[in-house]
Symmetry: C2
Subunit: 341 residues, 2 copies
């Protein structure tokens, strides 16, 4: 088990998930001597858990290409294998992102017809949350790939947010149809057809529309999505530090802070980034979810929740079904950028 606070954070997350989903069984891949005492302290969780001892682990700084070649038998490899071979419904890891993506792709392969898997995660909005993809798996994306992201993101919103008919927006730097580059205009045309079944295509959105909650699903290439996500984190961190500074710089401000403490606590709870932990590698023929490396138990629980909700709603069957409908409508859809297996 990877991540800065594993295995304690992982077991704690599982315990929280066990309370919400008592019917779910857990398989822990890692050092048995480290996991067993933690599970013994949680007898109810232990009853639905199994430990699979692994001698080796993939380190946080291992190159994905090396992990793929030399990772066999490691805890990450074995956990992915269990999810690939049907012994588990999903795999969740707080370990090395690149290795998790590379080994998951190698073992699970992509869903039939999917050009590129993407990283899909939640972001907070004024009205709730939205799904954003891709967050960094594909630096460049062509129009057909972006269109598939729309289909996959809709399936994610249905599975994880429980939405019936999510709305999908294509991230651009203006909302007029002439804005952006050729790829975006082409993707717009693909998505504006009848091809997004069961969801509505909102059209272009701008980056400030993401947190405003204008759409349920935001489609973008991995470079732009990653910049948007990290910019949001950076701005939130700047504002937090300014709040801290403002409410500590004078004695009067400190007293005001003490009086307002319950409200600040409530505010922190609302903005808690741990609730948005859990990035799904969507488009694989299996469910693989990446937790933030610095996740604590509460945060890891949310990554587990993404995996459980996705598995329970059979997200990949939905994606397959919707893609088959898209292909019926647009059989001439370009087959570019299909990656070598």
């Amino acid at each position: 088990m990877g991540g800065d606070f594993a295995p304690a954070s992982v077991v704690e997350g599982a315990q929280l998930a066990h309370r919400k989903y008592p019917h779910i069984r857990f398989q822990f891949f890692g050092r048995e001597d480290a996991v067993r005492p933690l599970l013994e302290a949680e007898p109810s969780l232990a009853l639905v858990s199994e430990i699979f001892h692994c001698d080796s682990a993939i380190s946080a700084d291992e190159k994905p290409s090396v992990a793929v070649r030399q990772g066999k038998g490691s805890s990450m490899w074995e956990a992915i294998r269990a999810a690939t071979e049907g012994r588990a419904h999903a795999v969740v890891s707080a370990g090395n992102t690149g290795a998790l993506m590379a080994i998951s792709k190698l073992q699970m392969r992509t869903l039939p017809g999917i050009y590129r898997p993407a990283i899909c995660a939640q972001m907070p909005t004024k009205t709730g949350q939205c799904a954003v993809l891709d967050l960094g798996a594909n630096v460049d994306c062509d129009a057909a790939t972006l269109h598939q992201f729309g289909v996959m993101g809709s399936a994610f919103a249905r599975a994880v947010f429980g939405m019936e008919a999510p709305s999908v927006g294509l991230l651009n730097i203006g909302t007029e149809q002439l804005k952006g580059n050729e790829t975006l205009r082409e993707a717009y045309d693909l998505m504006a057809g009848e091809s997004l079944r069961g969801s509505t295509f909102h059209g272009f959105i701008e980056a400030n529309d993401i947190n405003a909650g204008v759409v349920d699903v935001v489609v973008t290439d991995g470079f732009t999505g990653n910049v948007a996500l990290k910019m949001s984190e950076g701005t939130a961190s700047l504002i937090s530090s300014m709040i801290r500074r403002t409410f500590t710089e004078t004695v009067f401000a400190k007293i005001a802070y003490l009086l307002a403490k319950p409200s600040f606590k409530q505010l922190r709870k609302r903005l808690d980034p741990r609730k948005y932990n859990g990035a799904m590698f969507i488009g694989l023929n299996g469910i693989a979810v990446k937790s933030h490396g610095g996740a604590d138990g509460y945060s890891f629980y949310h990554a587990l929740k993404v995996a459980i909700d996705s598995a329970q709603s059979d997200i990949n069957a939905r994606i397959r079904h919707e893609l088959s409908q898209v292909q019926e409508i647009a059989p001439e859809a370009p087959q570019r950028q299909k990656e070598p297996a």
Copy 2:
């Protein structure tokens, strides 16, 4: 004069600038009957002001291509003409962005050797502020263009922040040299040489480094820069709305807010986006600054400040000088993407 609150906001901004820069003279281009009464109410400003009556104005929704063909004689056209012909040192407008860019390019032309002008503006950081370019003028940029943005951004930081040796970062989705695409790696190599005279090249930065204040100048293409800027605005707006909601939802929270009001006022002052108003169209053979369309007087003052500081530091002579040094070092620099005049 354009903008939602013009001409009152423009005259108020000029009055604020007049107090800080008493030696600066102002030329107002617009409807004389609207401007004159406002100036008469500010006798000290009126003494250093002149009104140039214009019958027509370019509307906010006019297409730039139409504005260029039909805008002759409009207030925007005439103001840019004054700055181009040397009767003014700079032009500042809160009007139609695309039209301002197009007419400025047409009249002022680009500086010798500049491939593409960029939109450069300030963003707040934990330690002060940084300059970010391009914010939307160029959707795609090649490596040589990004390199020039580094030179121009450094000149901006020197002029507007009064810095001696600004540090320059190249926005990417990871800080390792292998991240990103070919263009970014090529730009890295160009900037890592000795070619950024008088400033230091920090290397790749990630989007969360921008508000953290890791560098003084952030270089990126116009698509990514625009997304980063708007994402930051969206996140700040989300947090503001959550603060508002949290401190109004219970009677106790409302009382706490009242007690903490002076600190909240201080916080709002620190985060005031009006202080960062004023985007320079950098790389033109003249100084053109765009104010936010919704600017009030205080906000417009900051856009004027960018123009005045840039003119006083002779920013374009600095850019020319530094570019000539770059070209001495790297005479084989590619001349691609040079735009038709």
